[in-house]
């Protein structure tokens, strides 16, 4: 059976990872000289506490090609086919690193690597769908085509209190245009073409949650939905109650924004990921 692997920015809850036997590649998050593997050496609680308290701004770093080639070799003992789905190559070297590793290991088994152009739930939701397809006996080519298609219809809408973390981390992308404004703004950003891209500006968190609800209402048809927070479970619940009128709560996946994305977006991010219908 096809083995599915992804990276720690996918925010797939532990029970689903376990259910489908998904392999997770931890991305590194660094505070100065201290390196932590996201989700392995550091939990979100520990991370966000450190993020607020630490004087050093955290940075992140991709896994090395060596790590990936070791992983491919290990997985190749269990399967003939590996499908690796990774977060946007425009904001991380992870994808490049994996592609190099694939060249290193040669023909040990069939390896497909997909650059999702996404992160967080917008990466996690297509990965879960892929796992379901594999469970149902789908062929590699079909799964790959479906994942690529879903990644294009997958959107992570993120509410920001401040763009300072994005700016410091050098991932501000097209949201550069929102910097330096004269009013306090609570923007909603997403990943488009793999780059951080503004969707809308709002003036407050209340307005931002309204805007998220409107984005959900405006979606063609919701095929899958994930809601996430970093350190604000109450805001998540307010959002969840309102989104429940549009998409059934029992099908909604709830999760926590990982440390790697957290390092670049800050502790107050609120996130809604949707796979939009065709």
């Amino acid at each position: 059976m096809i083995k599915i692997a992804t990276d720690s920015t996918c925010d797939i809850p532990a029970d689903i990872i376990k259910k489908y036997g998904i392999t997770i590649v931890p991305i590194n998050v660094l505070f100065g000289n201290e390196t932590y593997r996201d989700g392995v050496d550091i939990t979100p609680d520990q991370f966000y506490k450190k993020l607020v308290e630490s004087k050093v701004h955290p940075t992140t770093s991709a896994q090395s090609p060596g790590y990936f080639s070791e992983m491919f070799t290990r997985l190749s003992k269990e399967t003939d086919e590996i499908l690796l789905i990774l977060f946007s190559s425009k904001i991380s070297a992870t994808y490049e690193s994996a592609v190099q590793a694939k060249a290193l290991v040669g023909d040990i088994c069939k390896i497909e690597i997909i650059d999702s152009g996404q992160a967080c739930g917008a990466l996690g939701l297509p990965v879960i769908k892929a796992a379901e397809m594999v469970e149902g006996g789908a062929k590699m080519a079909d799964v790959v085509a479906a994942v690529k298609d879903m990644c294009l219809r997958s959107h992570a809408y993120m509410v920001f209190d401040t763009l300072e973390y994005l700016r410091k981390g050098g991932r501000i992308g097209r949201a550069q245009a929102l910097l330096g404004g004269l009013l306090k703004v609570t923007p909603i950003l997403t990943l488009r073409d793999g780059l951080v891209t503004p969707v809308q500006r709002t003036r407050s968190r209340t307005q931002a949650i309204d805007a998220l609800v409107n984005l959900a209402k405006g979606a063609n048809k919701i095929e899958a939905l994930m809601l996430e927070h970093a350190t604000t479970p109450d805001d998540l619940e307010i959002l969840a109650k309102r989104v429940a009128e549009i998409y059934p709560r029992e099908k909604t996946i709830f999760s926590r924004v990982n440390s790697v994305i957290g390092a670049h977006v800050g502790p107050h991010v609120l996130l809604m990921s949707i796979i939009e219908g065709k």
């Binding site: 940075t59 700016r167 992308g173 097209r174 330096g180």
Partner: protein, 542 residues
């Protein structure tokens, strides 16, 4: 602690710095807007540095004086583009600083950097602030100050140099309008920062970082003041030919050559000594330049590139950075602060308002001037709504008018603009948004009158809601404001934004905010200098 370093260490520092820069070449290229937006600064710096390291590898003498000289020679031979030539000057200055020394310590480094900054400036006919020149100078000065305190601590001094270089880069848009307009930092400065950062990491022994991580780009803490809602408004100017060559000979006089070429093109850099001079110039007549130089000596590494070709590639790179909307917003606004605010939110502003309505012609000119074929108009005044509506028939562009009657209504509408939605969807949601805001304005009565039983004397302060209802009058501006806010329903809203006018001081307005903050805890209250004439206060209640 290691106290002294030799030429090999210097070489290894810059070799590490070059590899570090190599990882971010594309990013540096992408922000290149000055002097010509041709998107090759990073590449040019890297190629120049490769030549530096090649020459350094060939050097057999490892005293720092000789090594720095070899590196400087390498830079001169390999210099490419504007930034490469300036980099060559930096290495030349550094070699001057290290001249005759076998080894170097912290203070020697600091001095060499100061020399480098000075020499870089001397190489240019027209030094411009907000570029790599500013960055190297401020970084060198900062390193020098640090060296006063710890002359032997090279790591600390280089660390300080790098830190200041980063901060200096972030400030470049404040010095150079071209950067401010594009919303980027200077590319050459960014490249220099990364180079020095790599050198520092090597000194600190952070070899794994150098191998597996990528440099952090410095971002500007400013917004692009124009073009935000527009796909692009680059003018299709011709830039001529980028001409670059090495002149070898005897008794060459770089200063004389510079004077001779000054009027023959732009971005002129002349660097070198009696035996070799590197020339970089943007000119429409590369032939004439070469003819002049041939008379002085022999020409090597001649490179002539048509910059229009380079510009095409640059445009594609910028496209990826642009906002995903093809809709422009044109707003009518007045008051310095108000205009800045609208611009910072991405609108193109036509000046005008209450007492000076812009003509159809003025608004039309602006609509035609924006790059986009789809335009949303924010008239922000009831009289101008009519004027704006006439634009639709006068242009081929698709124009929608949001019936905004006040400046706060326009701001709320502009805020809700969705970068991914269509013209129709945005028009609809922006119209709706204007209804969610209540505007309170405090101005002066133009004449004595009586309204709904209120007797108003000319010159008194009056409070107006939504540009129609006169609700309060009196001699005390603050009192009229407070009463008007009460009537406007401040109690029920979440957000209060106060734009104070040109006739008020920030402290007076600040006092009002303090009082409101105490009276209504939990509300988000913001104070902005609107700078508008005639209106003491314009307040938005949302």
């Amino acid at each position: 602690m290691k106290q002294s370093w030799d030429g090999k260490d210097l070489r290894d520092m810059f070799a590490a710095g070059s590899s570090w820069l190599e990882k971010s070449v594309e990013e540096v290229n992408a922000i290149n807007v000055f002097p010509v937006p041709d998107g090759d600064t990073g590449t040019n710096m890297l190629l120049t540095l490769r030549s530096v390291i090649e020459e350094a590898d060939r050097a057999t003498d490892t005293t720092v004086g000789v090594m720095a000289k070899a590196m400087s020679h390498g830079a001169l031979l390999g210099a490419r583009g504007n930034s490469g030539v300036i980099l060559a000057q930096i290495f030349r200055g550094m070699a001057r600083g290290f001249d005759g020394k076998a080894q170097f310590n912290g203070i020697d480094w600091a001095d060499a950097m100061v020399q480098a900054a000075k020499t870089a400036r001397e190489g240019l006919s027209n030094p411009v602030e907000g570029t790599i020149l500013t960055v190297i100078r401020e970084a060198a000065d900062s390193g020098r100050q640090c060296a006063e305190k710890n002359p032997d601590d090279l790591v600390a001094i280089v660390g300080e140099t790098v830190k200041e270089a980063g901060e200096s880069v972030a400030r470049t848009p404040n010095l150079l309008p071209a950067l401010m307009e594009a919303g980027v930092v200077d590319a050459g400065g960014q490249g220099l920062y990364i180079l020095l950062d790599g050198a520092m990491r090597f000194l600190k022994g952070e070899l794994e970082d150098l191998q597996f991580r990528k440099p952090q780009m410095v971002s500007a803490n400013i917004t692009a003041t124009r073009n935000v809602n527009m796909a692009s408004s680059e003018e299709d100017e011709a830039y001529g030919y980028c001409t670059n060559f090495l002149l070898e000979g005897t008794d060459l006089d770089p200063e004389k050559i510079r004077r001779k070429l000054e009027d023959r093109g732009q971005s002129l850099v002349v660097a070198g000594d009696e035996t070799a001079v590197r020339v970089h110039i943007h000119s429409y007549d590369p032939g004439g330049i070469l003819a002049y130089a041939t008379a002085l000596g022999t020409l090597h590494q001649i490179q002539i590139q048509n910059m229009d070709d380079q510009h095409v590639g640059f445009k594609e790179m910028r496209r990826l950075k642009a906002l995903p909307t093809d809709i422009a917003v044109v707003a009518v606004a007045f008051g310095e602060g108000m205009i800045k605010l609208y611009e910072s939110l991405g609108a193109v502003v036509v000046k005008g308002g209450q007492t000076m309505n812009p003509s159809v012609k003025e608004i039309l000119a602006c609509v035609e001037a924006v790059e986009s074929d789809k335009v949303i108009l924010l008239p922000n005044n009831k009289n101008i709504i009519l004027t704006a509506s006439q634009i639709k028939e006068l242009t081929k562009k698709s124009v929608e008018v949001i019936p905004s009657r006040t400046l706060p209504q326009g701001i709320t509408a502009l805020m809700i603009f969705n970068f991914e939605s269509t013209l129709e969807e945005n028009t609809l949601s922006m119209c709706e948004a204007t209804k969610t805001v209540k505007t309170v304005e405090v101005t002066t009565a133009a004449r004595s009158t009586q309204v709904r039983g209120m007797k108003i004397k000319q010159g008194q302060a009056i409070g107006i809601i939504d540009d129609t209802d006169l609700v309060a009058a009196g001699d005390d501006v603050t009192d009229v404001l407070m009463r008007s806010l009460d009537i406007g329903g401040i109690e029920a809203v979440e957000m209060v934004t106060i734009y104070y006018g040109a006739d008020l001081k920030a402290e007076q307005a600040g006092e009002v905010v303090k009082v409101l903050g105490e009276k209504y805890p939990g509300k988000q209250i913001e104070l902005v200098s609107g700078g508008q004439p005639h209106y003491f206060y314009i307040v938005s209640l949302e």
